[in-house]
């Protein structure tokens, strides 16, 4: 088992009343939740990862690249690989138990959003006529499901050895009390109201792969919330990168990657 703990940043704001009113978990506005992750969590998959973002828990398995299966024949692309994403939530992932339905609208939307972000980093042109499956299962949902899913997918793709341009990392941000931007929103904070911004970015080249807003932001606020989300992505990148290096140190790598 391999866990990586985030060392929480030492920050300035220690206003007791502020902490109280923004949420009850007592995080500072620019602190991420505790991140724990493991690569190679599913032995049968080509690559896999398990990631916790606070109480949000996600398991991702990657299969491939392999020759396109018969039921996807029509999707063979002579120029690039076919990326097959599937996002699903375990029946016990939320507070109330729900029987999963096939073709659930919310899951399908998440699938499309994940596909969009992954497409921008996977070097599909190197693997023509192949298929890559990314299977995401949310075990516990506690806010930031998309972020956890995407970050875990990045780890699983690395584990599977799929060629990537760089990492793709997602993070959320919102506004507390309508003025203070805060990062990495938990489910409780989501339900407290206020719009939530999700950003997926390529942290090295600082490009944005995907954004989504749950409600409208006023244009005055958007800039600082966006900046907060990007800062969150960069912090998250450091943790994920660290996890990857530690993992390869342990299992070893031909050209001494991660050993320096």
């Amino acid at each position: 088992m391999l866990f990586v703990f985030l060392k929480r940043n030492e920050l300035e704001l220690n206003d007791a009343l502020f902490l109280q009113s923004t949420g009850t978990c007592c995080r500072k506005p620019n602190e991420l939740r505790i991140v724990r992750c493991k690569l190679g969590a599913v032995p049968h998959a080509d690559g896999s990862s398990y990631l916790e973002l606070g109480n949000t828990k996600v398991l991702v398995s990657v299969f491939g690249p392999y020759e396109v299966r018969s039921n996807h024949r029509s999707k063979i692309m002579s120029e690039s690989a076919f990326i097959n994403c599937q996002y699903s939530m375990a029946p016990f992932s939320k507070q109330d138990r729900r029987t999963p339905r096939p073709r659930d609208k919310k899951n399908m939307e998440m699938t499309i959003n994940l596909h969009q972000a992954l497409k921008s980093v996977i070097r599909a042109e190197l693997l023509p006529r192949t298929q890559i499956d990314v299977m995401v299962e949310v075990l516990t949902a506690d806010g930031g499901n998309y972020c956890a899913a995407l970050n875990a997918s990045t780890l699983a793709l690395i584990d599977a050895g799929v060629p990537l341009r760089e990492y793709v990392i997602a993070c959320t941000a919102s506004l507390a009390k309508g003025e203070v931007p805060m990062v990495d929103i938990s489910h409780l904070e989501e339900t407290l109201g206020g719009p939530c911004l999700t950003v997926a970015m390529l942290p090295t080249s600082k490009q944005i792969a995907f954004t989504e807003m749950s409600q409208r932001f006023h244009v005055d606020h958007l800039e600082k919330v966006m900046a907060t989300a990007q800062k969150g992505c960069e912090d998250m990148y450091k943790i994920i990168n660290n996890a990857v290096r530690l993992y390869f140190k342990e299992i070893g790598f031909p050209n001494n990657f991660g050993q320096e």
Partner: protein, 927 residues
């Protein structure tokens, strides 16, 4: 360190949900003491003294004070006393207080923000040493008490300064002492201090036995909460807000969803106080009663005479009180006749609030003062609720004190503007910059003038009008551009939003924005360049709108006229100046606009309005003047209405979700019953089915020999109306936007931004529509707008009541040492009284007809079919003319009241001709 908080809860459907929440425990939560060398808090975060000197004889050593939740909830008044300093408020306590009483939480929050109090909020639930996990079988209360003790102990060990836990719970004290803490009841601690006010402000909950005179068996105990909930679920009990009757202290109503329930008699009221949320049981139909028509002011009588003629109503009795609305009350002390006694009765100024028993040692000093008292509770065996002294306001009868009482009772913020607010003001010698000039339309060369009442210094509207070459007219309304000075989010903006409106009292004005803006920079004074927001129409000669333009502008008003001056200019045909011709155009158009509005069904209402001429030095009223009605008033009004409607349409079009509008709901037909009945007796038929019909039938109800009759009908109509309200368009259904009184499909307030905050918001919205300004997030948030509307509506209502009360106060001052004969009209005939309106003073009074003296029975007989009182040949109907003698009855210091005595028509043995006759008991109802 991460902890999980797991708990189960059920949702609406009854499913059980498991909730898991993160709960971080940290080391970087500081203790906030200057004595601490370990914590890395910054200097400004260290609130507590390094050497907290003991202020109470109850504790010898230096110490910090810790309080538990109940101590704070019960003793919030004592806690507000500045004598207690170096307090540590724990998060556990803070949250429990918030959960139990939001009013107490707000006040506690204020205390924690006050720097002089040295009060520190410690987030104990997240500091890893002070976090306490609930043990198996431990109740939440016990866990919280333990958390408080653990935190207090941690402080003691961390700082080596004693922690004193103040709690009224003996068990909690015992456990604390076992742990090595000092624990005391708050009352014992307070009595050890040398502050007299602190002790007085202690809650009366610590009183033991009641004295004999307070004992009563009139009340029954309230049901336990479980029984109440079961009863409500079973449909046997009903929950609703409790309204005490204003006339009769033994009567009240509880408003339920479908119907109102009448409560009569002490036992049924069962210790409920106006504003509480109560649970009632409805009595069997055989015991139903009708609301009494009597005016009862003394609590000591027990007999409730019900009105046999009136219709019986569902009647009930209070079996439980869910939520007490314990506010603070103004009033006076009724000193106990036993010398040296410390418990006295307090008589609130509001008559529908019962007397309150309080304890004070300063009774002699307070005897002639107006004081403020809070209620703590009402034990079942006690005749009176128990309370405690909060503060004294000043001497009874002083104009200043009375004014303060008035402001306090109506919750009007009247403190001076803070430094932070004044810092947002522009300089005294502010002038319009060229940059600003370039952005705006220059209207300096157009002849614009303002028309206002005499003595008005906050001029927020000005007008212009001229004929265009094509035969149409251009008319413009120019409103002071207050939103240029009050920028969103600044301190001045927050303060204005809090105050919401300028309050006009008879002898003073309480401004919404500081004087520099209200009477100088924003005021559109004659001959000075000012920033304005203009709404300009092209109108056809039939006053139909051809086009509308809105723009920010710079204007230079040619003249600031009064209504009278403007009227004179219009009527003087020799005056051909630009101002006069412009006024004539406006006047002509306004007449057409008004006619069209009335044809659409707008109501013309009346209310008796008067002004006092006040001696500027002594501030005493010298003379009463009725407000004159001039044509120019309605001219200005018409154009303001036109501007408001035009702006409302514009902002609703651009911001359908978050426009701030004003609506006036149609009153339910029931409201008109008294009006229809009263007019019916005079042979007039009032049709209130629609606004238009009502307006028409009011116009037709004219008595040729009595011009005041129609005005009275209109006054009565006004009473039938509901309040107009501000609302956010995104939170209300479209069908409800209608303004009944003006017969306008939509309406807003745009024309008085100096004195109303609603107009400031509308200005901002309109500015955003025309691209003159940018929006900000709160402006576009419909929920925020809705919250704001709530405050605006509340303040507006309170300002209205305060203005009325102020007139009443001055009427009383005016009648000191005066007796006058006046003509009056009967508004209502009641079972034991006549309600009389005196047009000259615009006030109402009651002549009680029943006699208290049993040897001299009242000569009057009441006929309930046609609502008349007769004595011999004399019959009183509604709207009859009478002559009454007015004087001030000062026998009750708290409620000085106008005394009305009947002079004409003559009723032998009742009416007076000379002094020394039978004096009828008299009440005025406006107090």
């Amino acid at each position: 360190m991460l902890k999980q908080k797991t708990f189960f809860r059920t949702n609406k459907k009854g499913d059980i949900l498991k909730v898991v929440r993160e709960h971080y425990l940290r080391e970087d939560i500081w203790c906030g003491s200057r004595a601490c060398g370990v914590c890395k808090a910054k200097d400004n975060e260290k609130v507590l003294d390094a050497k907290p000197k003991s202020k109470s004889a109850a504790v010898g050593e230096d110490h910090y004070i810790f309080l538990d939740t109940n101590a704070i909830l019960d003793q919030i008044d004592a806690l507000e006393d500045p004598h207690l300093t170096n307090l540590v408020i724990l998060q556990t306590v803070m949250e429990e207080v918030k959960h139990r009483s939001s009013a107490a939480y707000k006040r506690l929050h204020e205390v924690t923000l006050d720097k002089s109090r040295k009060c520190y909020v410690f987030v104990n639930e997240h500091r890893f040493e002070t976090f306490v996990e609930r043990k198996q079988g431990e109740t939440t209360n016990d866990r919280n008490d333990r958390a408080i003790r653990v935190a207090a102990l941690w402080y003691q060990n961390h700082l080596h300064i004693k922690s004193v836990l103040l709690t009224d719970d003996a068990e909690n004290r015992r456990k604390a002492q076992e742990m090595g803490l000092i624990a005391k009841p708050l009352s014992e601690y307070a009595e050890g201090t040398d502050s007299p006010t602190l002790c007085e402000r202690l809650s009366s909950k610590r009183w033991g036995e009641l004295r004999d005179e307070d004992q009563t068996k009139a009340y029954t105990p309230h049901l336990p909460m479980s029984a109440i909930q079961a009863g409500i679920k079973a449909g046997k009990l009903f929950k609703g807000p409790y309204f005490a009757s204003r006339d009769n202290c033994l009567e009240a109503t509880v408003k339920l969803d479908k119907r109102d329930v009448l409560l009569q008699g002490k036992a049924s009221l069962n210790r409920a106080i106006d504003g509480d949320t109560v649970v009632v049981e409805i009595l069997p139909e055989s015991e139903w009663k009708a609301p009494s028509n009597l005016v009862v002011t003394s609590e000591d009588t027990d007999d409730v005479l019900e009105d046999a003629s009136a219709e019986k109503q569902p009647t009930g009795r209070v079996v439980g009180i869910i939520n007490r609305k314990f506010q603070q009350f103004c009033g006076i002390l009724q000193v106990s006749p036993v010398a040296g006694h410390t418990r006295h009765l307090f008589v609130p100024a509001k008559r529908h609030i019962p007397k309150i028993r309080i304890e004070t040692r300063q009774s002699e000093r307070l005897a002639d003062q107006r004081i403020v008292v809070a209620i703590d509770g009402w034990p079942v065996e006690s005749k009176y609720p128990q309370g405690h002294f909060v503060r004294a306001l000043g001497k009874i009868g002083d104009q200043e004190t009375e004014n303060e009482v008035l402001l306090l009772e109506h919750d009007i913020p009247c403190y001076k503007f803070s430094e932070a607010v004044l810092a947002d003001l522009p300089d005294n010698d502010w002038t319009i910059s060229d940059e600003e000039l370039a952005k705006r339309q220059n209207l300096k060369n157009i002849v614009i003038c303002s028309v206002d009442p005499p003595g008005c210094t906050d001029i927020d509207d000005a007008l212009h009008c001229f004929e265009l070459p094509n035969g149409n007219y251009e008319a413009g309304v120019h409103i002071a551009d207050v939103s240029h000075f009050i920028r969103p989010g600044t301190n001045i903006d927050k303060e204005a939003a809090h105050r919401a409106t300028t309050v006009y009292l008879t002898d003073q004005r309480i401004d919404m924005v500081p004087d520099l803006l209200s009477s100088n920079l924003c005021s559109l004074r004659g001959g000075e360049e000012r920033l304005a927001f203009s709404c300009v129409w092209e109108l056809s000669p039939q006053a139909e709108i051809i086009s509308t333009r809105y723009h920010k502008s710079v204007i230079k008003s040619a003249a600031a006229l009064t209504y009278g001056e403007a009227q004179a200019k219009i009527e003087d045909d020799t005056d051909q100046t630009a101002v006069a011709t412009s006024l004539r155009c406006l006047y002509k158009l306004a007449k057409i606009l008004k006619q069209r509005r009335i044809d659409n069904g707008a109501l013309t209402l009346a209310s008796p309005e008067i002004r006092f001429r006040i001696d500027p030095k002594t501030k005493e009223p010298l003379e009463v003047v009725a407000k004159p009605l001039l044509g120019t008033m309605s001219m200005v009004e018409e154009f303001m209405l036109l501007a408001n409607v035009s702006v409302a349409e514009k902002i609703l079009l651009e911001f359908p979700e978050c426009a701030l509008l004003r609506r006036h709901p149609e009153p339910p037909p029931m409201n008109f019953d008294p009006l229809i009945k009263a007019a019916g007796h005079q042979g007039f038929n009032i049709d209130a089915s629609t606004g238009k019909n009502l307006s028409l039938s009011l116009d037709n109800a004219v008595k040729e020999n009595d011009p005041y009759f129609n005005t009275m009908l209109r006054i009565l109509t006004t009473r039938c109306m509901q309040q107009a309200l501000y609302f956010s368009s995104g939170m209300t259904q479209k069908e409800m936007f209608f303004h009944y009184g003006l017969a306008a499909p939509i309406y807003t307030h745009f024309t008085s931004p100096i004195r109303r905050y609603s107009d400031v918001i509308v200005h901002r919205l309109l500015a955003a529509c025309i691209g003159a300004d940018v929006t900000y997030s709160d402006l576009l948030d419909k929920r925020k707008t809705d919250d704001l509307c709530g405050n605006l509506n509340y303040r507006k209502r309170m300002a209205q009541y305060a203005a009325r009360a102020s007139v009443m106060l001055h009427t009383h001052l005016f009648f000191r040492n005066k007796t006058e004969l006046e003509e009056g009209y009967i508004l209502f005939v009641k079972k034991n009284a006549l309600q009389i309106l005196i047009p000259k003073y615009g006030l109402e009074g009651t002549v009680i007809l029943s006699s208290k003296d049993k040897n001299k029975p009242s000569p009057f007989e009441y006929n309930s079919d046609n609502h008349t009182q007769s004595a011999g040949d004399v019959v009183f109907h509604s709207f009859d003319r009478v002559v009454v003698q007015m004087s001030l009855d000062r026998s009750n210091v708290q409620h000085e009241k106008l005394q009305l005595k009947l002079v004409e028509p003559e009723v032998p043995g009742f009416s007076i001709t000379t002094e020394g006759e039978l004096v009828p008991a008299v009440e005025d109802t406006c107090g």
